[in-house]
């Protein structure tokens, strides 16, 4: 009973924050709404007996990704979002897509409700860190390695994309020195010929 009450409280919070994320024009308000969604979802993971995922959700999403997003918003000093003017037909496309997805959601809801197997498995140990860790480093070792390589590629890609493409101060100094030496050599050669 308590679980159901908590679920509906946090589900309402998540949906309200998600709507506020789409509704607000200011990117910073959107970012803060998104943090609200993450925290509500993390609480729902706790009610689903997945404490490890809940902690990781807070750490990675609310802690790392959103801090990065807020930094970028501050760095770029953005204005409010203006309404669509050139691509006005997108409003119709978005409304149609939303209706289709909502219909699909309700179809899935009723289909799962009518299915005979509703048995809840009350095994509470599944989401424990020990179980996740032992599965991760035995059965799913290869995917974990692949994810590690993916993260390395993302680090390199992020650094290359975000750096400036002008020569650094050190490069400028070295280039000047090389030019100076070159001129000196040409001058010397000329003198010797004379």
């Amino acid at each position: 009973m308590v679980t159901t009450a908590l679920f509906f409280i946090f589900a309402g919070l998540a949906i309200a924050c998600a709507i506020s994320l789409v509704y607000h024009k200011n990117p910073l308000y959107s970012a803060i709404s998104l943090v609200g969604v993450f925290i509500a979802l993390s609480c729902i993971y706790v009610t689903l007996a997945a404490p490890f995922i809940a902690a990781v959700q807070i750490l990675i999403y609310a802690g790392a990704i959103m801090v990065l997003v807020v930094f970028v918003i501050m760095l770029l000093n953005l204005d409010d979002d203006k309404p669509l003017n050139r691509l006005r037909y997108l409003y119709a496309v978005g409304a149609g897509l939303g209706l289709i997805l909502l219909a699909q959601t309700f179809f899935v809801f009723y289909a799962v409700m009518r299915s005979p197997k509703q048995a809840v498995n009350t095994d509470e140990t599944v989401g424990k860190t020990l179980n996740i860790g032992s599965a991760m480093y035995t059965e799913y070792l290869l995917p974990v390695e692949i994810v590690g390589i993916l993260l390395l590629m993302a680090i390199i890609g992020g650094v290359i994309l975000a750096r400036r493409f002008e020569p650094t101060k050190l490069e400028l100094v070295v280039n000047n020195e090389l030019e100076r030496r070159n001129e000196q050599e040409i001058e010397d050669e000329y003198r010797i010929r004379l």
């Binding site: 998600a18 789409v22 998104l34 979802l41 990781v56 970028v72 918003i73 669509l84 997805l101 809840v120």
Partner: protein
């Protein structure tokens, strides 16, 4: 008594719908990025709900993978947004039309 699997799936579907509509309605590249994160989270909720209802740890591991991919996406996506801002002084997706014509 716990909420049934269908309730979790309905919540996940509603969040996914809001995210998908947001991607289309937002003009701001950062806003689109945040809506994509919302959609990823909706899918994560589905994984965790199925993992709970079948007492299988695989779903939670998949959530872990999705989170890693989201972190990689954040690094590269924000790098692209900063590079775009440097060239155009805006992150409006309407301005990303250099390949048009």
């Amino acid at each position: 008594m716990e909420p049934s699997l269908a309730t979790y799936l309905a919540l996940s579907g509603i969040l996914f719908t809001i995210g998908a509509v947001g991607v289309i309605f937002k003009r701001n590249a950062l806003g689109m990025f945040m809506c994509i994160e919302l959609m990823l989270n909706a899918v994560n909720l589905t994984f965790v709900a199925f993992s709970r209802y079948y007492a299988d740890v695989t779903g939670q591991l998949f959530v872990f993978m999705v989170m890693s991919v989201a972190a990689a996406e954040a690094a590269v996506g924000l790098g692209i947004i900063i590079a775009f801002f440097r060239n155009r002084l805006s992150i409006d997706t309407d301005d990303a039309s250099i390949l048009k014509n």
